[in-house]
């Protein structure tokens, strides 16, 4: 837990959460409590179950066992979803029919049974896009944007509702380093206003100064919960060049025994 800041009331409470995909247990008996205002990194190798855990926390995949509470409410209809922002792990934000960045972000203004965008939603969407540096691209088709820009569109979609709890699944994957730094600054601003942040990362990178607590997963179980672990020497420099093919992250077969999970980029 953080040493210099006392976390507030629990925002995420997971007790004994087990998730199985296709009969294979991907996440095993996770206990995780995150308090208000904490910024927590979820680290682990490809296939260690970190994405699956986050997807279970927001109800995208069902937990086989255990209980999950978000902002004090059990996972389900009573959760105040408008206070939660989720950025899924996605290489592309484009789909069959063309859609503009603004249209994609606009869907972030909907939640629970609020199926119509509120008054002024279009302006909020444009403001959210501007906050991730895409103010000029609001009316461009998402499929014409670069991978990093598409990722930022998905981040804007989560930010448009001004969430109190933000969950991000590898937001920095495939994003160039300058964008990562801009993004780190944006997250730092959010954290300063008291937003609770859980971010799945492969390595701390540009976010390192922000993160005081890291949870490390190996083979679907927590092996470390506390101060961020020291990165492997060759990865210590945040400016190192790396490749990140980003495949198999949800496939347990890619889980190589003995790989230090904290900071290894595949490459």
């Amino acid at each position: 837990m953080t040493t210099d800041r006392q976390p507030g009331p629990a925002v995420i409470e997971a007790v004994g959460v087990t998730v199985a995909l296709g009969g294979v247990p991907i996440v095993r008996g996770i206990d995780l409590t995150i308090g208000e205002g904490e910024v927590v990194a979820l680290l682990g190798a490809n296939g260690s179950g970190k994405s699956t855990l986050v997807r279970a926390l927001v109800g995208v995949v069902p937990a086989e066992r255990g209980s999950i509470r978000l902002l004090g409410a059990p996972l389900g209809r009573t959760v105040p979803w408008q206070r939660i922002g989720y950025v899924p792990q996605r290489v592309s934000a484009a789909t069959g029919v063309p859609a503009t960045a603004c249209e994609v972000v606009l869907s972030g203004t909907l939640h629970s049974n609020h199926l119509l965008p509120p008054r002024g939603a279009r302006d909020s969407a444009r403001a959210a896009l501007a906050s991730v540096g895409l103010g000029a691209d609001a009316d461009k088709a998402v499929r014409t944007l670069s991978g990093g820009q598409q990722q930022r569109v998905l981040i804007a979609r989560a930010l448009v509702r001004h969430p109190d709890l933000l969950l991000l699944d590898e937001p920095a994957a495939g994003v160039d380093l300058p964008s990562q730094r801009t993004f780190a600054t944006a997250l730092a601003d959010l954290a300063a206003t008291g937003t609770t942040i859980l971010v799945v990362l492969h390595e701390l990178g540009a976010l390192a100064p922000l993160i005081r607590r890291a949870v490390v997963l190996r083979h679907g179980s927590i092996v470390h919960d506390g101060a961020p672990p020291v990165p492997q020497p060759e990865h210590a420099n945040p400016d190192h060049v790396h490749l990140h093919p980003h495949d198999g992250d949800r496939d347990p077969a890619h889980d190589e025994a003995g790989v230090t999970p904290t900071v290894r980029w595949q490459g």
Partner: protein, 306 residues
């Protein structure tokens, strides 16, 4: 020429047909846009197949109850069967079982075979059958017209009114779930609205070509647009134009209206696909650099030297 047109618009049969064609052209691409977006372009086909069984069951019940006309229950039967079929297809899709593919195939072929078989039991002729398979817009009754208007209004209100939520689910179902949106209810809404659209459009182009009216205008539109909203509006305009012009052509030239409409729409797609590269190239010939202006992590030695 003008007297010919006056004759066409003065013909009550043609008046009804034109109103139905306009509505179908307007309505079919609305739900088609969502289906293309979630890559379910063939869903309309499947629903159409199932709707045929509903038509035939309507005939059978009408015969047994000795209703006049004996096909009075054909369209209500189609609506019922299409809605049930669409919900079943959606549930199979949502479960994501590997056997879902086979289950859908069974449903499709069962729909057609069952329809043909029950139709003959109900005393329908081959001509009746062809009317449902390929459309029979020239026989639209006032009762059909009223039903078409009512169903079209429902489809337009739901399809356009709930645009933001339906877009969210079709665009990224995982995100919609994490936003607490009622994903299952929205998915079933799409399936039911698709079923209503199929039964509306069935009258014009028949169950075998019904999907074309939902999908092809969207395929044309997305070649020339960059936003979801404009794709839908453009597709609706294209739908109306091809439906009305197809029907008009067949008023003077004896041909199947449904087939003419679909061929026109596909012709339009071919035209748009052929012209688009020329337009795009002309635009690119300006000074515009296609690469986004984003800094990279790499320091080049030539830059060091500077």
């Amino acid at each position: 020429m003008i007297s010919d047109l006056a004759g066409m618009f003065g013909d009550p049969l043609m008046q009804r047909a034109l109103v139905v064609a306009c509505l179908v052209g307007l309505v079919a691409p609305v739900i088609g846009t969502y289906l293309v977006q979630r890559r379910l372009s063939l869903l309309g086909d499947g629903i159409g197949h199932v709707a045929l069984t509903g038509v035939a069951l309507g005939w059978l019940v009408g015969n047994i109850a000795e209703l006049t006309p004996h096909d009075a229950l054909a369209i209500p039967g189609a609506v019922l069967a299409a809605v049930v079929g669409a919900v079943v297809i959606e549930l199979v899709r949502a479960h994501g079982r590997t056997s879902g593919d086979v289950a859908l195939a069974l449903l499709f072929y069962g729909g057609i075979a069952g329809g043909v078989l029950i139709m003959s039991l109900a005393g329908g002729t081959n001509a009746n059958l062809v009317g449902y398979l390929f459309g029979s817009i020239s026989t639209v009754s006032t009762q059909d017209l009223v039903l078409t208007v009512a169903l079209s209004v429902v489809v337009l209100v739901v399809g356009i009114g709930l645009r933001a939520a339906l877009f969210a689910v079709c665009h990224d179902e995982e995100y919609a779930r994490a936003a607490g949106l009622p994903v299952r209810a929205l998915n079933i809404t799409i399936a039911v609205v698709a079923a209503l659209t199929v039964t509306v459009a069935m009258r014009v182009v028949g169950v075998l070509l019904v999907s074309a009216l939902m999908i092809v205008p969207v395929a044309v539109a997305q070649l020339v647009t960059s936003s979801f909203r404009r794709t839908m509006l453009t597709a609706m305009a294209i739908g109306v134009v091809v439906c009305v012009s197809g029907l008009t052509i067949t008023y003077w030239h004896d041909a199947s209206p449904g087939a003419t409409i679909v061929v026109l729409a596909i012709g339009l797609y071919a035209l748009a696909a052929a012209v688009r590269p020329l337009v795009v190239r002309a635009r690119r010939n300006g000074t515009r650099d296609p690469h986004p202006d984003v800094a990279d992590d790499v320091v080049l030695t030539s830059e060091d030297a500077r």
